[in-house]
């Protein structure tokens, strides 16, 4: 029994149930919400060390041996992604205690948060195609409710696009899983990989691979499936957007990396160039979208799309270094992007809006916030010595070493535009003064009316809630800085993860217990 492998879904499940039972007490929810996330982080660190030291950990649920039951598998890739959930989850849980308004917290915010974390971890750990589908559903419903929670009109408009496009993804995923099962008679990743390696005609599953590509592509928000993201992410409060930005699209990326490295590897002559094209266009379209925006949340949402292209680039190059870079990049961008959204959330709280033209003076007013933003932004733009640089460097080097010059040129040019749009936020919100005179330090949002009851009167920020705002920002920014300065141990692990993806024998052996 490797209970460790299921702890990352058990802990959030328990936290969700506990916060749901105690929903009348906002204070108790805060405490449990944070404690649960802290425990999750601890468990994920424990899991990663165990996997790092002892190799792939497998838990056959219900004691049914693979491929008949559902296998939970923690290899280095999975364990790293679970750790990402742990870090992001803790930061968001702390931040939410201050930043999410009381009505939302009374109506299930924390249970939903933890169920989302559970779904994400389930997706990272499962070794079964249909079970992955189930976790996608859990994430989808939890994120949908988080999107509409609060009942503002604009929330529904965004949420409908979100849920419709994602349901289309679910449908394609389900068809894909059905067709795949019809062909191979199994759903277990390891068993699929094993059977395909044994058969003479593995290309028969290539058609199904396209179903998964589109389904996961929608989840990961790559071109041309990303449209739902910039329309829905800017809508909810920043804490929720930060959570989504950090984790949801990364699950799509994870699924692409996982399935197209151990299962669908029999048509790389077609899929690799395809991934490279999709990666390049995703980067360009996303970053141009960002350049055009003048509202912070929308700008950053387009960047999520753009950055996914880099992870995909690694999958398209498909060497050990490239996959290692793609995984490192995914970890980096989740942290950096979540940090930026948390900063935006504080700006929104302070000024009541996030429109760049009307913002200003934040450097003078809140130098600490400015430093946090600048570090995260420079990291996102890929400047050294932060995590973004080493992530992009790894990918660019992998690309140049395999002579994929076009994608490298695109990646570098997009880096430039990323820097450009980050300096736009910096120049408009932090450097320049507020147009039309200096506002008071804390503009309170308008008082709630019958027309617009959602606007809650925020009390002036107390010392305690300031701490709740800033601790998570410090945490995430520190992670991105440390990931850069101490890139070596992380690259060791992402390299190990890439090795495991490129040589699935170990994975298959660990799950099936046979010598393939």
């Amino acid at each position: 029994m490797n209970v460790l492998v299921v702890l990352p879904i058990l802990i959030p499940l328990v936290s969700a149930v506990a916060t749901l039972l105690l929903r009348s007490s906002v204070r108790a929810q805060n405490v449990i919400g944070m404690t649960g996330s802290a425990l999750l982080l601890a468990a994920s660190i424990w899991l990663l060390t165990a996997v790092h030291d002892g190799g792939i950990l497998v838990q056959q649920l219900g004691g049914w041996k693979a491929p008949f039951g559902i296998s939970f598998v923690a290899d280095t890739f999975s364990a790293l992604m679970v750790l990402l959930t742990g870090v992001t989850g803790l930061a968001i849980a702390i931040y939410s205690a201050a930043a999410v308004d009381e009505p939302r917290r009374r109506f299930g915010y924390f249970p939903l948060l933890h169920i989302l974390l559970m779904g994400v971890n389930g997706a990272f750990l499962t070794g079964d195609m249909f079970n992955l589908y189930v976790w996608f559903e859990v994430m989808l419903i939890a994120s949908f409710v988080l999107l509409v929670l609060g009942g503002e009109r604009v929330q529904f408009a965004g949420a409908v696009k979100y849920v419709t496009v994602n349901l289309l993804a679910s449908m394609l995923f389900l068809i894909g899983a059905g067709v795949l099962y019809g062909k191979t008679g199994t759903l277990n990743f390891a068993d699929l990989a094993f059977k395909l390696s044994q058969t003479a005609n593995p290309e028969l599953v290539n058609t199904s691979a396209m179903l998964f590509l589109v389904a996961f592509g929608i989840k990961a928000a790559i071109f041309p499936f990303f449209f739902w993201l910039p329309d829905s992410y800017p809508v909810p409060p920043a804490a929720i957007t930060a959570l989504f930005a950090g984790l949801l699209t990364k699950v799509g990326v994870y699924a692409l990396l996982r399935t197209f490295s151990i299962i669908f590897v029999h048509d790389t002559g077609f899929t690799q160039p395809l991934f490279l094209v999709l990666a390049g266009v995703t980067m360009v379209v996303g970053v141009l979208g960002a350049v055009a925006q003048s509202e912070m949340k929308r700008l950053l949402s387009f960047h999520i799309v753009s950055q996914i292209g880099y992870a995909l680039m690694g999958l398209g190059i498909f060497t050990q270094l490239a996959l290692s870079g793609a995984i490192y990049f995914t970890l980096h961008v989740a942290i950096a992007k979540a940090a930026l959204f948390l900063v935006v959330g504080y700006v929104a709280r302070k000024r009541g809006h996030t429109a760049l033209k009307q913002l200003g003076g934040l450097l003078r007013e809140s130098p600490v916030l400015a430093v946090l933003f600048l570090l995260a932004a420079l990291s996102l733009a890929g400047l050294p010595p932060f995590s973004g640089f080493f992530a992009k460097f790894t990918l660019v080097r992998a690309g140049l070493e395999s002579a994929d010059y076009v994608i490298v040129a695109v990646a570098l040019a997009v880096s430039m535009l990323t820097l450009f749009s980050m300096t736009k936020i910096w120049g408009e919100a932090f450097w320049k003064e507020t147009p039309g005179g200096v506002p008071s330090a804390d503009i309170l949002p308008p008082a709630p009316t019958v027309e617009n009851p959602l606007v809650t009167v925020y009390p002036t920020l107390t010392k305690a809630s300031m701490a709740l705002y800033f601790i998570p920002m410090f945490l995430l920014v520190a992670v991105t800085v440390i990931m850069g300065l101490a890139a070596e141990p992380i690259l060791q692990m992402t390299g190990q993860a890439a090795d495991q993806l490129l040589n699935p024998t170990l994975y298959i052996e660990s799950v099936l217990g046979v010598q393939p």
Partner: protein, 769 residues
Amino acid sequence: MESLLPILLILIAAAFAPLLQRVPGRVAGWGLALLPGAFFIHFLTLLPAVQNGGERLFTLPWIPTLGISLSFRFEGLSLLFALLVLGVGALVLVYAGGYLAGHARRGRFFSFMLLFMASMLGVVLADNLLLLFVFWEMTSIASYLLIGFYTDKEKSRRSALQALLVTGFGGLALLAGIILTGVAGGSYDIAALLSSEEALRTHGLYLPALLLILLGAFTKSAQVPFHFWLPGAMAAPAPVSAYLHSATMVKAGVYLLARLNPVFGGTEEWHYLLTLAGGATMVIGAFLAAPQTDLKRLLAYSTVSALGMLVMLIGLSTDLAAKAAMVFLVVHSLYKGALFMVAGVIDHQAGSRDVRELHGLARVMPFTAAAAFLAALSMTGFPPLLGFIGKELMYEAKMQAPSASVFLLVAGVLANAVNIAVALIVGMRPFVGRKPVRPGRAHEGPVSLWLGPLLLGLGGLVFGLFPSLIGRTLIEPAVQSVRAEHVDVALKLWHGINPVLMLSLLTIVVGVLMFLLRLRARRVAAELRVPELLLPGGLYRRVVDALPGAAGRMVRHVQSGYLRAYLFTILVVFILLAGYTFLKLPGWPIDTGFGDVSFYSVGLVVLMIAATIMVLVARTRLVAIAALGVIGFGIAAIYVIYSAPDLAITQILVETLTVLIFLFVIRHLPRFGVRSSVPTQLRDAVVAVFSGIVVTLYSLKASGVQLDTAISTFFAENSLPAAFGRNVVNVILVDFRAMDTLGEVTVLAVAAIGVYAMMKLRRGNGRVS
């Protein structure tokens, strides 16, 4: 350790510098200057260690996976640059303390300056190219923050961004160039590349790597056509211009070229690219400088010109040219740093930087005037200043250039003559003549303001009189690094009467003439309006200004906001991808065994197809929902035919509930109607039909392909003996695959929370307690 320690200590100082806000500016300046000052002296004592090619390597592993190590090399060229960085740095810090004495954000300013100093030190001491790149980009960031230091000024912000984007662009090219170098040369360590330089030069990637690295060096060192960011950077406070934009950072590109000369140099590409770019920059920079009236812009353009000279000299690839380059490097840093500080003092004390308004300041600012005179004399190349020696060497190098020496000489005389005019305009003109316009206002600044320029100016004089002070000790090891062989450097002030001296005299005469004709030059330039778009700076502005708008148009096209368009695109791409992979598969193993289809099944399918058409043509919602219900119940019936009663029951329940709920909410929905045009409907129909075809083909294929036995037999066999349940479906749900069920239960629970919250928590419904 002597490399890493200063960098670390200065970085730590940078981190704590904002706290110095409480300390008076001048005290802070003097105090902080002690740090680079001490290291400057320490580095001086290390001079003997680098004689005759002596070097010290220091390596710590950092990120071995990527080939990035903390390896530093301490030798001639590095030490020369490090001394400039630290020496000028210390003086500039003192100067900045006076310049920003009362400024509200001087703590932050010092922090950025120290950040820059540490990064620049890293650039010149790093041996690993990737480490060098890390520091290189850090100097760009520091420069961005410093140029934009006056954050409330739009011009500062724009200039800062411009500098960042131009050098950032070059930085990315440099990165790619370094990686290609690593691919071709097998290492990122310069020390290692030095021994494999022959393999590198003959490698197919040599030219791409070279071009990319040159892009990096040229943007950083403001070579034409990337020069325009440097005059823009004059929006920065004077200490920044003196330090980053004349003495140190802009020379990083020159440093890189000099450093890589033994690795990349010696080829025709290297020679022509560098002399051409450098020569063009030298001339164009000079002529752009001529009509300027702002002190700092005059200096900025003449800096561009000087950087061109340095690049050209390195490109000449001779011993003499390398010698000239190293001497001129020192000369230029001394006089240009001094003049920028002088310009700052004038601005600070007299309130203007316009040369047409400034005169007679020597009477009220004697020390500043002395500093300016000395620096200007060195800039004109007048004996006995070091500038004279530099210019002589330069002419000599050009005369002995392997090719095009006449052309180079003419260009050199012209450029130098303009620079003499600039020296006179900046260093002499403001101090002589009538008494200042506002005598009560202009007065000498405190020691901190004139000490730096005066010392730098004196440096030009002392080293000119006693060139042996730096010749063998400082210049010779640096030249050896550039040439990768020992070159004897014996600097002399007087070479006798020879053609070079004649050229120097000619230059001075032409330069003085140009000075006298400066008013005419300004008039001519004012009439000669080159269309902005043709200039690189104008082009840059045009692109940057147009970018958001153009991107916005593109995005509005892609991101239309219409859900229908999104679904359409996704389905079309799906059809293309899936259809393509399907078609390219040889021999479609499609199951065509329709023989055993029962009569009931056929009837049901016909019924369901009819119902589907009904849904599409229905004029009211009620009819459409009823028809949908028919489809659902049809599916249930098919489950019954294929003996899956559990599924059938579930399906019937779901269908019944769905239809009922629809009927409940139907009255809340807006009016039903067909809103799309006929072509749109047709288009959608095509997509829908093709999606259906693709999925159908997939299903048929899936049942045709059987790679292995299904796991379902295991379930049937083990359900009762191992899981103690007679109903296999139930056992699968609650035992074999119980985790799926847990997930689905969670989905339902969340949906319940969502419905509850949506009903309770919404507009006007007790939202605020």
